[in-house]
Subunit: 384 residues, 4 copies
Amino acid sequence: MADRLKYGMIGGGPGAFIGAVHRAAIRLNDEADIVAWAPSSRLGAGHIAAGGAMGIAEDRIYASFEAMAAAEGAREDKIDWVVVVTPNKYHAPAAKLFLEQGINVVCEKPLCTTVEEALDLTETAKANDCLFAVTYTYTGHVMAREARQLVRNGVIGDIRMVMGEYPQDWLLDTLETITEDNKPWRADPALSGRGAAVADLGTHIENWVNYVTGLKIDSLACHLDVFGEGGVLDNNVEALIRFENGATGIYWTSQVAIGFDNALKIRIFGDKGTIEFVQEENNYLKLSLRGEPPRIYSRGAGYLTPEASGYVRVPTGHPEGLTEAFANIYKDFAAAVKDKKAGKHVVESDYGYPTLDMGLAGVEFFNKCVDSSEAGAVWVKVDY
Amino acid sequence: MADRLKYGMIGGGPGAFIGAVHRAAIRLNDEADIVAWAPSSRLGAGHIAAGGAMGIAEDRIYASFEAMAAAEGAREDKIDWVVVVTPNKYHAPAAKLFLEQGINVVCEKPLCTTVEEALDLTETAKANDCLFAVTYTYTGHVMAREARQLVRNGVIGDIRMVMGEYPQDWLLDTLETITEDNKPWRADPALSGRGAAVADLGTHIENWVNYVTGLKIDSLACHLDVFGEGGVLDNNVEALIRFENGATGIYWTSQVAIGFDNALKIRIFGDKGTIEFVQEENNYLKLSLRGEPPRIYSRGAGYLTPEASGYVRVPTGHPEGLTEAFANIYKDFAAAVKDKKAGKHVVESDYGYPTLDMGLAGVEFFNKCVDSSEAGAVWVKVDY
Amino acid sequence: MADRLKYGMIGGGPGAFIGAVHRAAIRLNDEADIVAWAPSSRLGAGHIAAGGAMGIAEDRIYASFEAMAAAEGAREDKIDWVVVVTPNKYHAPAAKLFLEQGINVVCEKPLCTTVEEALDLTETAKANDCLFAVTYTYTGHVMAREARQLVRNGVIGDIRMVMGEYPQDWLLDTLETITEDNKPWRADPALSGRGAAVADLGTHIENWVNYVTGLKIDSLACHLDVFGEGGVLDNNVEALIRFENGATGIYWTSQVAIGFDNALKIRIFGDKGTIEFVQEENNYLKLSLRGEPPRIYSRGAGYLTPEASGYVRVPTGHPEGLTEAFANIYKDFAAAVKDKKAGKHVVESDYGYPTLDMGLAGVEFFNKCVDSSEAGAVWVKVDY
Amino acid sequence: MADRLKYGMIGGGPGAFIGAVHRAAIRLNDEADIVAWAPSSRLGAGHIAAGGAMGIAEDRIYASFEAMAAAEGAREDKIDWVVVVTPNKYHAPAAKLFLEQGINVVCEKPLCTTVEEALDLTETAKANDCLFAVTYTYTGHVMAREARQLVRNGVIGDIRMVMGEYPQDWLLDTLETITEDNKPWRADPALSGRGAAVADLGTHIENWVNYVTGLKIDSLACHLDVFGEGGVLDNNVEALIRFENGATGIYWTSQVAIGFDNALKIRIFGDKGTIEFVQEENNYLKLSLRGEPPRIYSRGAGYLTPEASGYVRVPTGHPEGLTEAFANIYKDFAAAVKDKKAGKHVVESDYGYPTLDMGLAGVEFFNKCVDSSEAGAVWVKVDY
């Protein structure tokens, strides 16, 4: 097991859903082990026990990400990458410290809270020759890869419209219990940045569309709602989009849409055909070609493109889900890390994982959405 | 059969889809007969034969709507109503002539091409004490009535967001064959007005939402696309909506959305629940209440409200469709006509059919959409 | 309107769902008028009024089907066909009397209660040169015609298996209110014959499969359940089927399957592809070809076969339903009647409506199901 | 990490889908490590490398399951359980050897090929006080647990009918390439036993129904088809079922049903309600109560029973799939193993995993299906 990879994590302690998913996804791939950890909260005996249960040696459970970056950077057997799953506010400062130690980074979305931070990270990563993935989860699904390849193969022709929506309803109960003293970090601008739903969910739409189509947003007009008594940040987002190629679109996301769990749905309309992807039915992709009956592609089927088939883990009809999507991103990233360690020249965009420029685009997107909304949902130019 | 009702029609000759549907819907109800007709095109022997096959006496097949209005207005046994299914441009002048003869009107949507015409019709109808229905078809479905009643009963609480979409793809082939000399009237501004998809389909969304929720639009920002070589009017419409009660929404309609036949879908989100109606699955309605599993209401089931059940024609599980939707509107209208003939005081909004003020709102809506789009998709106020 | 057709009806008075649907379907086609009627129940003033409202002259509202057959048979302007929608027991005696008068017959399914009756009807129809349709409704859907043509065109290859199911749940409430003195005719063997669900619903499966595939049943093993206190006839039917070509299948129907309205669903598996038709979604047909993604055919689309397209009434995406299915059968039948009246040689199976031999097969089917079940669900040979 | 569990595996080498899934599922749970392995094929350098990559020490990679049972049985630090994923024929002899060493067993389904073997395993497990799980995968889904609890809570009342189907189409291509010298073990009676589809898929239906409802089969009539040139064992199975409580049912499974990937679907009809579970949509469960609209339960929602909620890994709307289903069974099994190691009295059926008696019932089921089919699809009594 000498050639297994080693990684560390910032945040994502017991009880934090997303850290556990990252670790489970990496275990699925079975090529890397967690060896270092800095919890978000003040280090206690519980963390030592939890880290031990994960197989982390006590001396690599750190009291802060600053301490961890310094200590790991100094080790011979330093971690191959760090996973950043803290509240948004700490993404940039934490990631930067690791980059400066030459440690590759995998960071949750949104990449950070401001464009300035994102540009700084971009520069720092380049200066230190580090790899950097942003875990836009839904790009990891096999059928996201299939969608991307179908677009690249010209199957749906030139893109005219994009309809993206991402309704949830989980916030409803939370909203009623938020007080000044008791609010989740996602509802706290100090920890989360200027946007809530638009940053947490809106960037998923923005990224998935860009990942699959390559389209860049030219400008947008966005309206943000703050429904409920307890809300201080947006929980419903409605935006008109113009892309640089002349295509147009609509993005909608909500955390108060009763009856919807996590219903990311993207429809991409070309002049030859249409692709529809629904995250909750991630094992399928609907393709409609002009003048023909819509067809339902199934993950694992023989007719998939090789670019997508390479990610299939279990046969068609045996569902894959969220964890596999994460695992596919880590599979890509680990491949790049191995190649880099082997001295190969690594072009990150060749590996399939969402890259730092996509993280920057997401930060730009949600900040411009907030800008637009604050000005009365007027049209604003998008720079990145 | 002495008490059967009599109606006439303007436009809708052989080959015109919509006229045939109106007549079939009225036959389904079996309480009125067509007795007069003025085709849109120059009167010929074919029209006499076609009219005869419909059972219309030759002397009541007219060369123009002007001639028909004059002649019918002068008859003792005049028609109880006229159905206007001409190209949009003629709606207002034709309807006005019949109103002036004291003849009730059923008019296709959009009501007319300008707000001025719509206001004039409103005044004329009132002055001549005439009934006036606008055939926004999709309000006729049993499950549209159920949706309306559920909202009225407070089942979904206060409305926060409305998502309306109506994609089609039929225009794609037509687009390629349009030339200056050969264009369908819907693509010809001279016959159709300033809007195409926005007037033909957008008004269906606008109306259905208003019909079911009672919400009035305060302002909107709308982007219109004209895809394809042959297009001169919009074929893709994207709009942000603000309602007077503070709710917000997004309306999208398209005639170039490959893979979509006629996919009107409206989702209305309240603070207690959500209603979802899909026209192509008009026998069902999805209701999601907060914290409960979504439930699928079925047309004809015993748990429907009485207000909807009264329109059920065939038992649950035996599909009804477009023709029944039209027939329900005519059932409502005929009830009002009978009451009026019986000397009762008729409050049109009590009968269930879409009324003249809804026609006005539709004309205002699509014209304001065009205004907004021409100014760069800026926000414009909606007056009616 | 000199060449309009005239028909009469036996049974199907006010309140009877199915008679009203037949009449509505014929009105949709607009080529025939009801001119004679014999209600099932004792003739009263209400019938005269109801008949008058239908436009039937008082002297052609008859006290019995016997009286009607005699009187109509003697008229110069006799009806072109009679529609038989009485309880099952009267189908054969009523139809026979009309056939003997040379009057064509349209009869509800099941054709009659015994095979002997069915054979007698067959002989009588032939001897009197009469046309005879059995209204197996679901053969009338456009997509049923498409399915039939796809099979005929060899698209799914040789058929290997057939899965047919038809669950309903309407009987549940009825079951609890049935008493000796108060039972619906469908639950009364004296009026309904030896089978209830198996005759009412089972024959729909049996016929649809035969209509679409041409396959004949060789033998079957059938288990009938009588759930509930009030039941005397079967309300749940489970059968294994062997076809003459070696294909096998399963038919299931139920009237006590909670959550199912009228869910006829047929899947036909060939060695090249599979066809799936769901009556409640009759505007679609699913076709899966080996090694390819399943595709969803939409009624009205340009890719349909000409044999199916000819029945399309409203454009794709505008739902048709039960009434149109009936209307298509009447469209076929009226075409045959006209041709016969014009002196042409009529081969009934060329016209598309379900014929007398299909009625016979249905009667044989449900009787053999009862035979099998009574003997312990053993295999029995099917003769017709 | 001192208290982590250790397991070994028999079969399931590189390229074998199912062994990899078992290992991945155990990694997801992160409480046990693979430490011993005996591949099915002749031990080679590739196995040593593959085992090394899994973290298995070279001296615990064995040339045969016999060698492994003996060696592991003799170790102080013996494995806590062995996973048996060999061809069916070796299940019983391999499992028996481990049981005799006091080693707990997790065995793939079908448990073995004959009832005699199954009874012998039952006795051996009891005699050696060993735990034994049979990996009927689809009992591991959260919504399978929810279904079971809803039935136990009486939500659907007394069960009347059960409809189970499990169509696949993967065999089609394989069928054409099978020769005497080149056939997959599943198509080889010598390795697979008397049944193919009926053993591989039919037992999944039989078990899921029993697991969720507790119903025992009284008797069955089963027809087996062998379609295609290359087939020697059944690839299409059609059976009528009678349960001991008087309920009836139909089971169908196929490997040649074009258009179906892995479409296990079970519908359980009670006198109060109906439950529907579709494996390919395992994050949902449909519940229809009498007289109410069907409702769609979503995995992870707050209204689930505690018995199901305990298995939720990621929030509602974030799909779980096959691997999580396996992992839940291993979670149950590991809990029982830990309790047994802690000296507690373990009643296996309390832990939720499918037990040895369920394995026995599956073997009885498929053998009786073959008996019935060979005798002409006659009814046969089911003993276990």
